[in-house]
Symmetry: C2
Subunit: 344 residues, 2 copies
């Protein structure tokens, strides 16, 4: 592994394509001392580069002639789109040309390519998408955010272990408070899957397990890692986005209802701006797919330059800190418990 981490960037994904993703990648390279491999349609990437400031940027272009469409099935992308930017990005990681890959494209396809091209860590059956949500204090890590719709208890268990390692290494949380999302605080509340995962998490080595979390606990900042299956996690993540947006609309409408309120809103413009920044997903970059042999980060389709920069920065930290080794260690240390649950 080189001293300067090399990050493959799927330049074709997302709602905005190269015009937004390439500048984000260049910025990350410049400020965080990373090399970026811009994977995608060479002419389109070059067109963006021609208009960019390339001082202090380390990059290469890797041509990809196919593009993944949003309505394609992940398995089809994996089978047929061998020359797509996401497949090529993952193969660069597999072949140790790059240390990690970041994509804002079709997230299902990115998960599938990550799992089957980069491959899973030994002992991990289900890699999990790991998102960060804003809270009243520091961000909370929630996983799985949608990679696995149906989960077994030991999958949830491993999500907890990996979320813990991620929070320690990448967010610098000292002893992350880990919990499992359920419908009541007391032990014994939840569906059968959650109840069994609870017991496993309780028995895990070196885990600061706090027990069940409820929906109302997600945003208080009293928890650092929240475990759930990908069905629930996907709903939670999309709901938090949608609700923040709707509440902002509702608030705006109230502020337009009277002259004093409008004047007040004008005076408080800065406050609104800093509020929006607090809840802006772009500040948190992308969602790492934890449990692979090397890192893949899946970004929001709506990713802007800032989101892309932050995601690539996170990839750089991940590589520098060798977080994959930490993930492998925690999975291995808890192998016995996992195996016991799997055989039940």
């Amino acid at each position: 592994m080189s001293e300067r981490p090399i990050i493959a960037v799927d330049a074709m994904g997302g709602d905005f394509g190269p015009s937004v993703l390439v500048p984000g990648a260049l910025e990350a390279s410049r400020t965080d001392n990373l090399k970026v491999l811009l994977v995608g349609d060479t002419p389109r990437i070059e067109a963006v580069l021609a208009k960019s400031n390339l001082d202090g940027v380390d990059f290469d272009i890797v041509h990809a002639e196919e593009v993944v469409l949003m309505n394609e099935h992940p398995a089809d992308v994996l089978r047929r789109k061998k020359k797509s930017s996401i497949q090529i990005g993952c193969r660069l990681v597999k072949d140790h040309v790059a240390d990690a890959v970041v994509s804002a494209g079709h997230s299902g396809a990115a998960v599938a390519c990550g799992m089957f091209i980069i491959g899973r860590l030994k002992g991990v059956e289900r890699p999990a998408l790991c998102t960060m949500l804003p809270t009243e204090r520091t961000p909370v890590v929630l996983l799985d955010a949608g990679a696995n719709v149906d989960c077994r208890p030991y999958h949830l268990f491993q999500f907890g272990l990996m979320g813990d390692a991620f929070a320690r290494d990448i967010l610098n949380y000292e002893s992350p408070r880990v919990s499992i999302l359920s419908i009541g605080e007391e032990e014994g509340k939840g569906n059968s899957q959650v109840k069994e995962a609870f017991d496993l998490l309780k028995g895990a080595k070196n885990l600061n397990f706090m027990g069940n979390a409820e929906g109302r606990d997600i945003f208080t900042g009293d928890l650092d890692v929240i475990v759930c299956d990908g069905f629930v996690g996907n709903i939670v993540v999309k709901m938090s986005e949608g609700m923040a947006k709707s509440l902002t609309h509702m608030l705006k409408r109230c502020f337009k209802s009277s002259i004093p309120a409008m004047l007040g809103a004008l005076l408080a413009k800065g406050a609104f701006k800093s509020f929006r920044k607090t809840i802006d997903y772009a500040e948190y970059g992308g969602a790492p797919l934890l449990g692979l042999k090397n890192l893949a980060i899946v970004c929001h389709g709506r990713s802007n330059s800032l989101a892309m920069t932050n995601a690539i920065r996170m990839a750089g930290t991940f590589v520098r800190k060798k977080t994959v080794e930490r993930l492998a260690e925690t999975i291995l240390a808890n192998e016995e418990l996992t195996r016991f649950s799997r055989s039940n």
Copy 2:
């Protein structure tokens, strides 16, 4: 059934007990021409009545000598606490002394007593807690909000049917837009339970089924009824409460960060107040348990007088409109499809 609906009110439940619930009940009786049966400890209820304005109020006291504690198991309450206010309230409904019961007590106990004392509608296996959430436009009905942790597809199907009937009768929505909560808009997305329920809802009679909803669609106001199992529903409802609270805290903090912002907040005080009113659960009263022979409404433990008044008013409308008959009709009209799915 008398012309003036008779609503049994569990006066002992909730965080605040009779001092808050009794005034709420009296207000509903006065303004909505209802008779309320105040069920609970007679001396405590009388103490509140002595300080109340009783003009135009129709009420009786029904003594209950036992109180349900929040840490008791629902099944234990059902088996042992025969003289608790919630059991007596449900028996008043069963014996046709009251037309409906409203409780802000232990919600699990209220659900259990409703199911086993009042009894289920013919053809309904799983009654569902039906909540209303604020959106950018009119409130959305979400069910099940926590009565059933593990559901089969035909349970979800019946939740959709009942939510539709409720939205028509009680919220006066003309052709409610019904959807099922999943992880993607396209047909075929979701876990196996949701995919099968999707097919059933698609085949339902007289149902305006819109397909899958995602977490981000809950608060836009583009949907009227959202179906999910009680595990997901409980998380969604508690998360929406918690997130509204946390966002308000975060917003307040931003407004305290500078003098202009503070001045702005002062000027916009009225706007904030109307915003809080929009997202205040108390405006929506309680959660009816749909699928019983007669109505039980389960209110939030933190219910204030306004929430209690609104819940009792809803019970009155439910009784006057004979909404139970509408529920029975829609369950019966779709019996064949339900039976087909159940036998699979």
